[in-house]
Amino acid sequence: MKSMLSIKDLRASIEDKEILKGITLEVNEGEVHAIMGPNGSGKSTLASLVAGKELADVTGGSITYLGKNLFDLNPEERSKAGIFLGFQYPIEIPGVTMVNFLKAALNEHRKHKGLEPLSAKDFLKLLREKKDLVEIDSKLTNRSVNAGFSGGEKKKNEIFQMAMLEPKLAILDETDSGLDIDALKIVANGVNKLKRKDNATIVITHYQRLLDYIIPDYVHVLFDGRIVKSGGKELALELEKKGYEWIKNQVNGN
């Protein structure tokens, strides 16, 4: 099995406070990983570091993506190399329509692959196809990026963008929170449809519910900047039942 993402003993601080305290995580092609953990444990920090946001200072360790040192790539290069981050809090960009935004993004990705920009006709066709996949309201693509979108619409919009860009590695940071049950199914369904043998998904979530629809191969518990427990999908069920207190006690008990 081919390694997609290899994180080794990653340490990172924000304003001299250590947030990630030695994370090690191996993700291979074709796998789905779930990361769970209490608020403030460092899940989003980890995701944003993989995407290249210079929020936390890396103080140690490494991230290798498809055999390359990820720190050598800037955020847009990482995107074009196939890394997609579904934001926990998607950003509003007033004045820039979804259509223009996606056209710019998609054509950058195509240029990177040595392809010509899509014609307006083909672009619109693709747009329609992917819109259907995530059952997103048609009008949303004519509006400014995320501006005035409802919480759920923003989350759906992340999956829609993911569908447009067809990433190799998708990291979905709490894409399920704020979704009603129908939307949750649609989002999960979208993720599953985009799944291939040669891509991988990391879902960050608080709810085992999502994992009924997106079946993970591995579940990791991130606690205070460390992955303190890893297991199969049953770990999510156990967590749901016993809560994080159980993990906390186990960690402290060791």
Partner: protein, 482 residues
């Protein structure tokens, strides 16, 4: 985060000003200095009739009694008017002539600027009056326009050929006493464009003036006069560029527009004078008085400007809405980067009944620049049912630049409605990162955001201008992220 911001800001890559070249041409240039003899010499150079010289001298004597205005939110270095040359013309050029007589070097210069003086070569029908330094070198499509009864020529030619129109209209909207720079211009203006649309004539193509400063140590002082008789229409474009130089150069222009009943003049500017370098050295001082009068019923003036150049911009294209039901519009995008300063806006003076004005101003500031909107909406007592809507938005890139809004509202009529809305926003790092994460580079992200922000105004520009303006916005902001 501060660190990151500073890093990106300091990456400001000296804006790519592609019009910064200089053309080596033989010129007939006055030595620096300003006095009555210089005023007389300019008039003599142009063989002007006596009335024109009198106008100039009155203006000059008035100017001597005036002081530089200091009310704008600008830091203007002292200008020594004796250090400037007030006339510089390509030697080969005695005035607009047939294309064969235009100096090939000049032709090349305008080709390089994307302005073809060769009517055959122009794909799109835009008539151009090409002004270099102090003189107009060529006006294209004159014959075609003349067939419709439209007069389109250089100001020098108009003074010689149409003295009655000049006598009647020059100074009628911007009197020679109007303000410091308008008075200076009235005394020493050297050329410019003239356009007359007879009753009922709609110009069959866009008309334009392209201003180019080439010579060093000279100022450019041109005048434009547009007269639209009843029921006529013209879309007028103005573009300008200058070489990159370490010294500041002065540009003080006057534009007057007279619009009669049911006529419409649409005036669009893409101002791209050399803005100076990234440390604020050099650049054009751009002090311009633009004003139009809607004299007749249902007449309309619309000003659209994209201001990206100049070290200092001081400019308030205005409308006097005298005719009942007349309409004034001001649409502006002003970009400042590095150490540029802009104080720009408009005046809408409502005199007629049911007059309507709309102001849309989009300021974009980056680097260490300062960008101010200054606007006056005045409704006089008898202007029943006047309406104004103003929208003034500021967009900031980085935290070292400034955006300011100075709206003045004077309403003396109780049945009138004046609305003013203002917003200030910032291009955030989060927005940039969001774009980056989707594969869009920082420069392109800024381009997308800025063009989206300015869309409302850019859409008002004629097609080819809109495309050029879009590119210009992005180039002007190159390297400036916050």
């Amino acid at each position: 985060m501060k660190k990151e911001q500073d890093k990106i800001l300091s990456e400001v890559t000296g804006t790519d000003y592609k019009y910064g070249f200089y053309t080596e041409i033989d010129t007939d240039t006055f030595p620096p200095g300003l006095n009555e003899d210089v005023v007389r010499a300019i008039s003599a150079k142009k063989n002007e009739p006596e009335f024109m010289l009198e106008f100039r001298l009155k203006a000059y004597r008035h100017w001597l009694k005036m002081k530089m205005p200091d009310w704008a939110h600008l830091k203007i270095p002292e200008i020594n008017f004796q250090d400037i040359s007030y006339y510089s013309a390509p030697k080969s050029q005695k005035g607009p002539e047939s294309l064969d007589d235009v100096d090939p070097e000049l032709k090349k210069t305008f080709d390089k600027l994307g302005i073809s003086l060769d009517e055959q070569k122009r794909l799109t029908g835009v008539a151009v009056d090409a002004v270099i330094d102090s003189v107009s070198v060529k006006t294209t499509f004159q014959e075609t326009l003349a067939e419709h009864g439209i007069i389109f020529c250089s100001m020098s030619e108009a003074i010689m050929e149409h003295p009655d129109l000049i006598k009647k209209y020059m100074g009628s909207v911007v009197p020679y006493t109007d303000n410091y720079f308008a008075s200076l211009n009235s005394a020493i203006f050297s050329d410019g464009s003239f356009c007359y649309l007879p009753k009922g004539v709609k110009a069959p193509m866009e008309l334009s003036t392209y201003f180019r400063i080439n010579a060093a140590n000279t100022g450019q002082f041109e005048r434009t006069l547009i007269i639209a008789e009843e029921g006529s229409y013209v879309s007028y474009l103005e573009g300008c560029t200058a070489p990159m130089r370490d010294e500041n150069q002065l540009h003080a222009a006057v534009v007057e527009i007279i619009v009669e009943k049911d006529a419409y003049v649409k005036y669009s500017t893409v101002q791209n004078w050399y803005p100076g370098d990234m440390n604020g050295k050099g650049g054009i001082f751009n002090f311009v008085t633009k004003r139009g009068i809607c004299r007749g019923e249902r007449s309309k003036i619309s000003w659209t400007q994209v201001e990206t150049g100049s070290a200092i911009t001081w400019k308030y294209p205005s409308c006097i809405l005298k005719g009942n039901n007349s309409v004034g519009e001001f649409n502006s995008v002003a970009v400042t980067n590095n150490y540029q300063q802009a104080d720009t806006g408009t005046k809408m003076i409502h005199i007629g009944k049911n007059t309507k004005s709309t102001i849309i101003s989009k300021g974009i500031s980056a680097g260490f620049s300062n960008n101010s909107y200054r606007g006056l909406v005045k409704v006089v007592k008898n202007a029943e049912n006047a309406r104004n809507f103003s929208q003034c938005d500021s967009l900031l890139l980085g935290d070292k630049c400034g955006a300011h809004t100075f709206p003045y509202i004077e309403v003396d009529n109780a049945n009138s409605i004046v609305e003013h809305e203002a917003t200030t926003s910032k291009i955030g790092e989060d927005q940039i990162f969001y774009c980056n994460q989707r594969g869009i580079s920082t420069e392109d992200a800024i381009g997308l955001i800025v063009n989206g922000y300015a869309k409302e105004v850019l859409n008002k520009l004629p097609m080819e201008f809109a495309v050029e303006a879009q590119k210009l916005l992005q180039i002007s902001l190159e390297g400036s992220v916050g």
